[in-house]
Symmetry: C3
Subunit: 467 residues, 3 copies
């Protein structure tokens, strides 16, 4: 048996019994996925997935980064080279390589997610080992050809109430239009991610601004027109169901310049005359501008700071972005967010969701900030911390100061579509185990724990993301 029904619950019988009951009450709730990175094209075209390796391994940087760390070349896992040079193309060969190294994932969340996917989606009862690699490959490959394994069928099977994808500000949202026009009832919404037109260090920033002007009809050659372009695009994204924006900045720095200063800064940035400090200041200023627009249009704002993207230039050159070389860095919030908070932090009608890759900020900065500023909420443990231990630490370090209601439920934040139920299941189980501990230690009534479990699994995300 790959999956024990008590997985992730404390061994102690009393705590486990409470966790079971709590989990039973919420395990079948619909999934809300308000922040993620699945490809809207899947739902639009509803084509069958190509093969097990293309579905599960090649696009998953959690997987290939671990194998790479132990000496397996990305080429041998079918990860496309930036220069188009040849890489492994045989799905079965990639799968065998993966199976040989599956032991590396012992103790990792990837292992939990994959085993859950194998068991619940593909009906596999045995742990993946080299010996059964071919049989498992064949089984998955066969199922992937069936109609009920196409993206829309999976969406429904996963009991997804809504999923948000994330698109750049310049995206035409054609896949979203196609989904909308198809008559399919699945609720796939977009989210506005303007990094490419907000971050002067983004590749092609100047051209991006030109295009930003073209598609909006705004004059992105000056500051007011540029802000208008954002307003237009936000409205356009809202028309495709967006309820949120997403901002992936290197730091949490914000600024609140006078409009005239901001305009002068924009001019420098626009004309390529901005130095590194100017560019950082522009990013900082734009977070505050985005918050002000959120106050107007009601989009929930998400700030994801603290990742050093593409740490290895050789790997960026060889394989491009998002290849497992994004490394967390120390991140400060108390000083960084002050300009934004001074401007709009006391607004109860605004919702800003803060994420972090620096767990030291949970108890020291994030919980105290979210525990007093009405505009702030804490996003769930993110990326490297989206794991049983990471989730447990998040609850232990934020609950006592911020409570549960200043958090926003779970985000799966993934490109790995088949892993979505597994990820929500891990989160629901870990939260139930945490609540069970509070109950058995008589820090919370069991009746209350049921309500909280429901909120953590469903209600908080529903309300915070205005879904």
């Amino acid at each position: 048996m790959l999956l024990d029904e008590d997985r992730l619950f404390d061994a102690d019988p009393k705590a486990r019994a409470v966790a079971r009951v709590l989990y039973a009450g919420i395990k079948d709730l619909p999934l809300l996925s308000p922040h993620g990175h699945t490809d809207p094209r899947w739902y639009a075209e509803n084509q069958a997935f190509r093969d097990p390796s293309r579905l599960l391994i090649v696009p998953d940087h959690y997987i290939f980064r671990m194998l790479f760390s132990q000496g397996v070349r990305l080429e041998d896992l079918g990860v496309p080279a930036a220069d188009g040079s040849s890489v492994e193309t045989d799905g079965r060969t990639i799968w065998r390589r993966f199976a040989e190294h599956y032991y590396l994932f012992r103790g990792t969340p990837t292992r939990l997610w994959l085993d859950h996917t194998f068991a619940t989606l593909f009906g596999i009862g045995e742990r993946l080992v080299p010996r059964n690699a071919d049989a498992i490959y064949d089984r998955i490959a066969e199922l992937l050809q069936r109609d009920d394994y196409r993206p829309r069928a999976l969406f429904e099977r996963f009991n997804l109430e809504v999923i948000a994808t994330t698109e750049g500000a310049l995206d035409d949202l054609k896949w979203h239009a196609m989904i909308r026009d198809s008559g399919w009832k699945g609720r796939v919404v977009t989210a506005y991610r303007p990094d490419s037109v907000v971050d002067p260090d983004f590749e092609g920033f100047s051209d991006n601004l030109d295009k930003f002007g073209e598609i909006t009809g705004c004059n992105t050659g000056h500051w007011p027109g540029y802000l208008d372009a954002h307003r237009q695009r936000r409205a356009f994204f809202k028309s495709f169901g967006a309820t949120s924006t997403d901002h992936g900045h290197p730091t949490a720095e914000t600024a609140n310049l006078l409009p005239k200063e901001a305009g002068m800064l924009f001019d420098k940035v626009r004309t390529g005359k901005a130095d590194a400090a100017d560019r950082a200041l522009f990013r900082a200023q734009m977070l505050t501008e985005m918050a002000r627009m959120s106050l107007d249009d009601g989009l929930v704002m998400q700030i994801h700071p603290g990742s050093w993207r593409n740490h290895s230039p050789a790997m960026l050159h060889g394989f491009g972005r998002d290849k497992g070389f994004d490394i967390p860095t120390r991140t400060d919030y108390v000083d960084a967010l002050k300009p934004l908070l001074d401007a709009v932090g006391l607004e109860p009608g605004l919702t800003i969701v803060l994420f972090t890759l620096d767990e030291t900020s949970y108890a020291r900065e994030l919980a105290p900030l979210a525990g007093v500023y009405p505009a702030l909420r804490l996003g769930p443990p993110w990326w490297f911390h989206d794991s049983p231990e990471g989730m447990r630490r998040f609850r232990e370090m934020t609950t006592e100061t911020a409570g549960f209601h200043n958090t926003v439920g779970f985000n799966d934040d993934t490109r790995a579509f088949p892993s979505i139920p597994a990820r929500h299941d891990v989160a629901r189980r870990v939260d139930c185990a945490f609540l069970a501990r509070l109950v058995t230690e008589h820090r919370l009534g069991e009746d209350e724990a049921h309500e909280v479990a429901h909120d953590l699994a469903y209600g908080l995300a529903k309300r915070a993301y205005r879904l």
Copy 2:
């Protein structure tokens, strides 16, 4: 039942059994409260508390910050506006608003403290919910009118052996004098908190120094006279039972200038010519001066760095200080304390108690420093970390390097008088649960655990604070 007798003990039966026995041995020990912020006027005048909301909600920033974070206005909770404009005055209305939001405190220490207070002080057996809000309000209001619910009666009921209040250097200690002269036997002592005459950024600093000179007869226009004024006030505070000083600096920075340099720095600060760096250096220097005076007069020195006070200027302007907008910041000790430690750190006759709001310093900096410098001791988990999880982390991250005897027992550090027994009870239970784990994992003998439990609940505070 609001309170289970096994609350905060591990669910595991063996660990729980040990925790029970340890706790039984120390639960009735008198309370030592060597660091707190209750109002000495209460004990001096011994007037009845006004109503349940004025006692429990309006003054408690843990409570109103949480409600504010979820959109409740401070005005609606009766928190006085700085400009005297009108706020809610009806205690019952405030109480109902609080009851409606009591679910926000699930999983927080405030919940534990209030339930303990409700149950043990007011004999309430039901959890507070909107339905029973009026009945509970009436019950508490009625009891507060009884003589045995006045401050001195509560002091005795709480089994307080001694409580320290905290007064500024310019305080006349008239309430302490009134207590002393009243013949009442309760031991209420003061503590010397000179921030207003040490921190050049303190509101009214220059006037404060003038007044400092007047009340001491010292010439606070120059450095030696200024130091003498401190010596005089410390002696005056000692005459009212003070055994400690308390220093709330933004950082742990210390300095050890030559006397001539210190005098020149004082002149700049005194005449308002000091820039930000000078002012920080002056605060730093004064920690070392205070430590030297402690070496002379035996007052235990407490350093509480790392809080960004009044993070929101709008809230400071609207409602004044201490309104829940103090946010912890990253705090370094190893470099910051070096000048002070080089000067007096090896003195076994000196006791400096270090507090932190940055838990990352526990294992990395504070335990290693306190585990070798004779003058250093670790204060208990403070403020945002004064919670079951915070206390557990403190023991787990400091004990292995600093042991138990380089810590100083519990501080309740509170303005919330009725919560004092609850806070000590939480600390005693969490410590017993921690010790029970050491016992069941065979890392400590049960006979030893009893001795340690006694020390953590009573002995260490008694000795460290020289009570």
Copy 3:
């Protein structure tokens, strides 16, 4: 009974049962000690240890720093004064002082190590207290005179398969030669620690470089000759079994200058004209140079940053180095290591073991780095974190991102020879307890846990250190 057979296992019966079985499978595996600081002279001369205090107390900074923190003078513990002035010389008197203060070690790993040593090495069944101090002293003293308590006999009794000592680059390795020539079969290898000829701030750096030139015949007056001298010495150390180098830098800073720039920097450093930034840059550059040499000669590189050595100048002056006044500091890796990683981080043939004294880097920086760069591995919890709680935090914060196979097993890292079996035993037990939790929470199969336990106790160190 001093030692319970279930010590350090979870109290929960199910988890404990699994931990027992896992531990039973690995407890008798030979000890690999690839990183430590025992004195090779012991194995070379094989003389009896002098007395219990000289063996167990006087050289152990974990012990005397704790006693010093509570007011016991180092002189009274027999720690030699730097100026040769008289200190306590009577072993029994030192022992009695220690016994009086043994309660200070409650809850510390020192207590676990000593109790294990008392019980297993000296057959002592009672906890050390003042009452039995003399009897225990006599018992140990008597045993130390026996041939089977001499260093080589202990090495064999401890089931050590290999131990690495650490020698400076200028060491003649005469004790290692003597061991080799003795015909004794015990495998004692050296490790290359070049701090004294790499760190311009090291005492006598310039003279050290002269000597470095003399013993290698290389011209250490210029950069290429200096690098050659390292190559020679590395080869010399390899000939005495070294499989690793060790680098104790204040920070993890690395650099990758052009050869010409590096040469010019060397010239400044060599001639004493380098300022603090130059000296730091030189240390940084040398880490990259050492990594390149490791790529050539196969020596595993170990980087141990983040200790502020000799924090108290008065104690350094009075008693010299390594007297318990080394304090951890905040340490960054993501930025600091980038130059080195850009140069050689993608090489699967290179092994760089990273250590830290800053646990905040585990989940945030170290696990993400080691989880993707093939050249990186994580060293075990080090020094102040070499404790049950420290080991548990290490696994909880690194496994989910880096897995088990990017770690390198246990290092005892000690000068305290008799404590080696105890330290390995603690590590093995804590790892088994961690694995047992994964098993009981159904995150890992029990069959897999056996394999992992074996790897953590033996296989990973064997492979990572190429033993």
